[in-house]
Amino acid sequence: MTDIVFTEEQDELRRTVRAFLEQKSPEAEVRRLMETVEGYDPAVWGQMAEQLGLQGLAIPEAYGGSGYSFVELGIVLEEMGRSLLCAPFLSSVVLAANTLLCSGDEAAMGEWLPGIADGSVIGSLAYLEDSGGADEAGIATGASPVGDGWAITGTKSYVIDGHIADLVLVAARTAAGVSLFAVRGDAPGLVRTRMQTLDLTRAQARLELDGVPATLVGTDGQGWALLTEVFDLAVTGLAAEQAGGSQCVLDMAVAYASERVQFGRIIGSFQAIKHKCADMLMEVELAKTAAYNAMWTAAEAPGELSEAAAIARSFCSEAYVSVASENIQIHGGMGFTYEHPAHLYLRRATSSELLFGVPSAWRERLADLVGM
């Protein structure tokens, strides 16, 4: 694997994305969008695709993307995590696109990836159900063959951006086992309800499916193996986002600790605050290492991703929750107001920790992988 060091070109990408997000997704805009029904700004989404090509950045050129690697995608996610961008990027570009890519299903990829790459299609992945069980046994939704296609009946929960998705990739059980299906957002028999979310900046939906027409993606019965691959990529992308958010709250905490005065002193001069910031720094730097290592592995040694992903997933999740909590503590009463952005990061951090398998489950997976 090459050195974990960003190239000049990658740094330039980061600067471009950051400048774009500072302009298009300042805190006021985040707060505006998080109260809309859609949860994102279609105009900005379009600009992301047309001006920066972000949606297609890591999609192969054959499917209308630019063919960059997961490293570049990670940089974009890190910046989006920093700005809490409200947009279906994780769902469409990380979850849906990588599910299609991992499936190796030429027809599905040809049908959907170009639209995801140019932003015209919003994809999402529906695997969890009401039980919340993030394992194969948690999938009770069933699919039966009907004519040339399939019909799905059941309920999916916690579907990120499921309420606006044009394409929902649904995990359902057939006679052969768990399989994946493409379901159109406007399919008959599909009822979508936006859920209330702890994370105000990332929408989730509950989908009720009653004989909804669907197309098989990949091989019948191989859905869980496919999802396992997707999860490694998903948590790698999420880790980049978590690292970006972590760095942001550290910056926020240090800035406040450097200007706030109590007892006639800058509070950052008190060891209680200073040492807390030092601990946050350690967590943030290690989280970045974990995320970058997973990004590099995904790009250059995808066969070895599982270990790097498990490390990144478990460490970045806990680090982000920890630093987002400490940021509130350092801000004192101010950090506890709705008006201050600190809680938006804690909400994102906590939701991210709960939504893709808790850290201990990933450590257990790591223990298996390493042979403990």
Binding site: L198, G264, Q329, G333, L354
Partner: protein, 409 residues
């Protein structure tokens, strides 16, 4: 029905019970007798609250430790606690005017003129006048004594300018207990004066300041040439810090772990509730953490009991009485975070009518304030280190320096 003769605690409790059984709706009493939470919930709607507060105050049960002439029963706190327990047993709140009764009332009793006592105490107990606390400022949190809201004398009136924050119930309040700087040219603790500020006046602007839960629990209050008569000054000029410390001791008490062992005082999910909902917990990691939290909860309760037993036995209090607030506040955070984690994905998203999960997430967020409100954990650790263990204070950057010359945010 004021109690005039000195009677025993048991007899007082029995009197209170008779009052409650007579005054509360019959369905309420029945629900209590049968321990029926659902029935109680619907019985609550029958109680007309304004009249209830008046009657409860009239009986002296809102403020049993106050002197009889101001609507109390003149009881010692130890004796009065029997009444509080009885109100607790019948699940009736003692008051919804906490700043008024616990803070303003206590302060007026201790520092107020006779006119002030006469004017303010009964309406507080009767909930006819709600109060708010005007202490903290954006620039004066942990370091409350550095507050910058100015009160300048103009004849018999003081003109107030500045900003306060964390004022709960400011919108409903008739009066605010205000700390303002009346002399900027002396060290910070010496130039503060306390006032009983009428809230309903043009110079006072109230802006809600929601918490991270979204709940509008607190307010900011802005003073733009607000006015308060010198007759509403509480205590001597420049003695406001003394007034506030006598009050803050009560507040620390209210926030503190001393209540931790009482049932129902947990904000959010209790350990018992988690066991009830999730047992049997199969995952050994979650079992461990639940057991750890159970132990912490038990040890806080037992430590409070140990401290109380020492007091009852007339022994010198030890450090055991000082540690539970800090420990419990951090325990509560761990507990609410764990309650959320137990839910998995359901802890972070729910459908609209799913009250349990919404409540669990709310308690998680609300829990963040546990280590901030009523003295941050950092300040609490200073207090344990300095007051309990006798370690020296940090060199002070503002001791003896006139307030106007000290660095501030």
């Amino acid at each position: 029905m004021a109690v005039s003769d000195p009677v025993g605690a048991d007899e007082l409790a029995a009197q209170a019970e008779r009052f409650l059984r007579g005054r509360l709706p019959a369905r309420w009493v029945k629900a209590i007798d049968e321990d029926d939470a659902d029935a109680l919930s619907s019985a609550r709607e029958e109680l007309e609250l304004d009249q209830w507060w008046l009657d409860l105050a009239e009986a002296g049960y809102v403020t049993p430790t106050w002197p009889v002439e101001y609507g109390g029963l003149g009881l010692a706190p130890k004796v009065a606690s029997g009444i509080a327990r009885m109100l607790g047993r019948y699940k009736v709140p003692r008051f919804t005017n906490p700043i008024g009764v616990d803070l303003a009332g206590s302060a007026i009793l201790r520092w107020g003129t006779d006119d002030q006592k006469e004017r303010f105490l009964r309406p507080i107990a009767q909930h006819r006048e709600i109060w708010c606390q005007l202490f903290s400022e954006p620039g004066a949190g942990s370091d409350l004594a550095s507050l910058a809201t100015r009160a300048v004398r103009d004849g018999d009136t003081w003109i107030v300018n500045g900003q306060k924050v964390w004022a709960s119930m400011a919108h409903e309040s008739s009066f605010g207990l205000l700390l303002a700087r009346t002399d900027p040219d002396v060290p910070k603790h010496q130039g503060i004066t306390a006032f009983l500020l009428p809230m309903d006046q043009p110079g006072v602007t109230i802006r809600p300041l929601p918490q991270i839960t979204g709940d509008p629990e607190f307010n900011e209050v802005f003073f733009d040439d607000a006015r308060v008569d010198d007759s509403l000054r509480l205590g001597p000029i420049g003695e406001g810090w003394k007034v506030s410390t006598s009050i803050l001791a009560s507040e620390r008490q209210a926030v503190a772990g001393s209540g931790a062992s009482l049932p129902g005082t947990t904000t959010g999910r209790s350990v018992r509730a988690l066991i009830k909902r999730h047992a049997p917990v199969g995952d050994p990691l979650l079992r461990q953490r639940l057991a750890e939290l159970y132990i912490e909860d038990r040890l806080v309760s037992l430590t409070n009991q140990r401290a109380a037993a020492k007091r009852r036995a007339g022994q010198q209090p030890g450090p055991e009485g000082s540690i539970t607030k800090l420990f419990y506040s951090e325990h509560s955070q761990r507990l609410q975070a764990f309650a959320l984690e137990l839910e998995g994905p359901a802890g972070q998203a729910w459908v609209e009518d799913d009250r349990w999960h919404r409540g669990t997430a709310w308690a998680y967020l609300r829990g963040r304030s546990k280590t901030i409100a009523g003295g941050t954990s950092e300040v609490q650790r200073n207090i344990l280190g300095e007051r309990v263990l006798g370690l020296p204070k940090e060199p002070s950057a503002d001791k003896g320096v006139p307030w106007s010359q000290v660095k501030r945010s």
